[in-house]
Each structure stands twice: as C-alpha cells, then as structure tokens.
C-alpha cells in the first residue's frame, strides 16, 4: 500500500475523486480525511502492474489531480454560461441581453 496526501485548501475532493476514477485500472483507491486539513489517498496496486514504482505512480496521480483541479476551477467559471447555452439551444428567450447583463468578464 502506498499513499500520498493533498492540501484540502488547494485541492477539492471532486478533483481527487475524478482522478481516482480515471486511475481505476492502475490501483484501487481509498480516500480519507487526514489530520490538519489534508486529504489522504491510499493506493492498493494489483500485482500484475506493480512494476510501476510507487514514486512514478504517485507522480502520475498528482498530475491527474492537478488537471482535474483545473477542470473544476474552469468549470466553476463557465457553469452558468454553459447552462444558458443549452437552455438557449432548445428554448430560446428574447431577453437574453438583460439576463446576462450581470455577468462580467
């Protein structure tokens, strides 16, 4: 069993969970709250792929979490606009200008 931990102020649980889903083939993952605002991730690696060193496995996972954190942050920025695009695609409204006037770049 190898493990690593993330600062909960920087990384969201959503990013860690999504990265864990992508990592399904490489390891079984248990996520738990560690002390002092950290999220701990424990990896159980099947013997068949265990030639990957723990360090390389963890580095790969951290890269995945970082990308997922970007997705979460960027997604938060465009969430409302995305909902409006889909609504407008299927049920267009006339007063879109007024509705979106409060959203600033």
């Amino acid at each position: 069993m190898v493990s690593t931990s993330f600062d909960a102020k920087v990384y969201s649980l959503e990013a860690i969970k999504n990265a864990s889903y992508d990592f399904t083939e490489k390891a079984t993952i248990v996520i738990e709250t560690a002390s002092a605002g950290r999220i701990q991730v424990n990896f159980n690696v099947p013997v068949s792929i265990s030639e990957a060193t723990p360090d390389s496995l963890i580095s790969e996972f951290i890269r995945l979490v970082t990308d997922h954190q970007i997705r979460v942050d960027v997604g938060r920025d465009y969430k409302l606009v995305r909902e409006m695009i889909i609504a407008q695609a299927f049920e267009p409204v006339d007063n879109l200008d007024i509705i979106v006037s409060k959203i600033q770049p």
Binding site: D77, Q88, I103, Q104, P105
Partner: protein
Amino acid sequence: MSQSYRFLPFRFERVADRVLLVNDVGDFHFLPESSFDALIGRKISPESSEYLDLKSKNMIWDSHLSNVIDLLATKYRTKKQFLYDFTSLHMFVLTRRCNQRCAYCHASSVCVEDKDVLDMDVATARKCVELVFMSPAKSIKIEFQGGEPLLNFNVLKSVVEYSLELNEKYKKNLEFVVCTNLIALDEDKLEYIKSNKIYISTSLDGPEYIHDEFRKNRSGEGSYKNVTANLALAQSSLGHDNISALMTVTDLSIDHLDEVIDEYIARGLGSIFLRMLNPLGYASAEWNRLGYSVDDFVDAYAKALDKIIQINRSGVYFPEMFTTLLLSRILTPFSTGFVDLQSPAGVGIGGVIYDTNGDVYVSDEARMLAHSKGDKSFCVGNAHSHSWREIFGSERLREIISSSCIEALPGCAWCVFQSYCGADPVRNYAVYGDMVGKRPENDFCRKHKAIFRVIFEYLAKDDEDIEDIFWSWIIGKPLAENSANATQM
C-alpha cells in the same frame, strides 16, 4: 498582467505533445503547454494571436456575452439536430437463416433448412412498415438484415411495395438498403433491386485466403469466389456507387490490412469500413481463435489509415468510412447521427430493429442479447400488440436513453473527445450488468479514445495535403473534383 476574459465550456487533454482544447460544440484548438498554463492563469495577452484564436474558437469570451451564447446555442442545436430526426433507421430481420456460417457471425444465424426458425411473414412485415411510417423523421432508411435477407425475398418485396404505397401519403425521403453476402443474388433479384433503387451493403474480408478462413458456406467451403463474382455482376448492373462493403478485422487479417485495402481497390470498391470484431453471437464462443485486444486493433487501424492516406495522396479517392464519420464531427458544424456512437445513444430514438416475429429491439446487440442469453431487457414491444406511442414513448426507452447522455457520465463528463463521442448502454449492460458501465476499463471507450487520438495526431501536423484529403472524404468527392469546383467558383 491579468486580463479580463472568462472561460467558455471546454475540455482538455494532452495530445501530440500539446494541449488539445475542445468545446461543447466541437470547435478545437491546440496550445503549447506554456500557453495553456498562461490561459488558465489568465495571463494571455489580448494583443496576442493566441488570444484571438481562443476567442474565435469559442474557448474564452470578453464582451457581448449574449451574442456568444446565441452563437454557441445555434451551433449546439445544429450538432444535436439528429434528435429531431426521431428514429430514422429501421432495420428488418427478414430471416435468421443464412447460406453462410461465418465463424464470427454476430447474428447467430441458423442453417437454410432449419424449419424451426420462422422467417418474417408478410403480416408481420406489414405491421412493422406501419410502425415505420408513424415515425416523425423526414428521412426514413429501411435496412434489410438477417441472417441472409435475400433468402426471404418475397417479404423483402412486400416491405418495399407497402412502404412505397404508404409513402404516397407520408412523403418521406425513403431509402432502402440490403445487407447481403450476395451469394443468393441472381438476375431477377438484381433487376428488382435496381428498379427499386435499393442500395447494397456487403461484406468482403479481403483476399481469398483471408475471406475464406472465416466466411464459409454451410458445407464448409470459402465463399470468396461466389461473392466476388456476384459483386462484379452487381457493380456492372447497379454502378459502383450503389454498393459498398465492410470488412471485419480478425486475428488473421489484423496484420494484413494492407492486402485487404489492395483487394478493395482491385475490386472497384470505392471505400472501406474497418470494423472491429465484437464478442457477440458466435464470435463470443470463438474469441480465443478470432479475437485480439483493443490496442492491437488500434495499431492496425493506424497503420491502415496511414496506407489509405498515402493512396489518396497518389490521386486515388478511397476513404475509410469510420474515420470519415468522426472527421465530419470534428471538422464540420453539422449533425451526424450514427446510432452506434451518439449522445444520447441512438438506440430506439435513432434506429430500431424489428425481429422476425415483430419484436422491436432498440439495437441489433439488444436482439443478440435476447437470442443468446434469453434476456429481453431491451425489447420495447411487438409490432402486433403495441402501438407506436406505447413502444417509442415507453418509460423503458426513456430510462435507456437517459442513462446514455455522456455529458453526465463519469469519465465522459470531462473527456476531451466528448463532443464527438457517444454511448452504448446495451453493450455496457451486456458487459458490466448496468447501462452506465465503467469508462477506464471499457473496450468501447478505449477503442474510441485511441482512434480519436490517431485522428487528432494527424490534425496536429497542420499538413494541408492531409487536411485536403480529409475534406474530400467528408464531402464525398475526389480531391481533383474539389479543386476543379473551387477553380470554377
């Protein structure tokens, strides 16, 4: 310097040493890693060409939000136009009998003389045709399948004739396709096919030694000679454009796709569809002899695509049809409904299949599941006993469709290829026991993801010749004709 721009919905992944960005409507853009970091850190200068590229590709916005939303909404609606063409593909299983016994037969066909298995009868066929014309789709494609549909030619004729009769009233754009191994083709049938403009889709697995290994008649002889003789007959009568073929990649052909491609060109076939073998029907029992991994398939596909591109570079127009479908999604704003790969899935709402007894299944795989495992989970009714509304408005169909919106599925929700991809709830159910499935270990996903990567690696090269070839496939015209048209304009 921090800039005032905000993000529009996009997903990203590293492809060909760069970061590929794709938005919800399928616009894409490659960025070097450093520029991607600058984008995310909101440090891209508004004066830079990258800023303008990102803005014009709808990855960021800085003003006139309502115009941006309107534009993207129109593009989104256009991409999902197939939803308005509710159920346009209607497949008729005219018989489960077949004069071949292919080792990998997905349809689990039975022998010609098997009296226990009924062909579709005329009364059932007419009931199914009536359901077809209840569909609101403007364009209707009726596809005859089997077994071997030419073995029940009288019912094929009754479907064609009753459809033409009903279409006097409904005025749909009506098309017929027969998926046949060609063995039972004769002059009379050919004449009927010609006069009713029925398109032929056939199977040729490659040169004789490849084709005959797995496609044999019921007495165990390879069918190559018979198939190619009837192919030539059909081509001379119907014209080459009215017949296409697909090939199923097996463990034998996977390392010889170059010979398969040469065979197709020598036989005057204008395109090829490289189909991966699925572990369904007889193929599932023979998997050890016939099967291969997704990685092996994608390697072979990539090599074959390279050869096909070289052939096109030399002036011969010869597209690979699955690549062409994906390129249409990637490079054009248009909707390309393809029942096997769309979101929501095409099962039931894009295409439907009528079994010999009138049972209505949401896809061919759904019918296989019923025949091979006795599991009728994806049978949504019967043409004799259910109305169109009961079948197509059923809770069951809604449930199937709502579990196939990849925008909301784990793995797909953040996948960079989502705008071009789709789901297959029936296969997920067959393999994982639930309609959602698990993306990282799912062969369907792994195959598509790898094929998208191959295609985007070509697009990342910014090679104008390759892009011209890809466009010629999308438009369906040889390069020379495209440039001649451009010169005339």
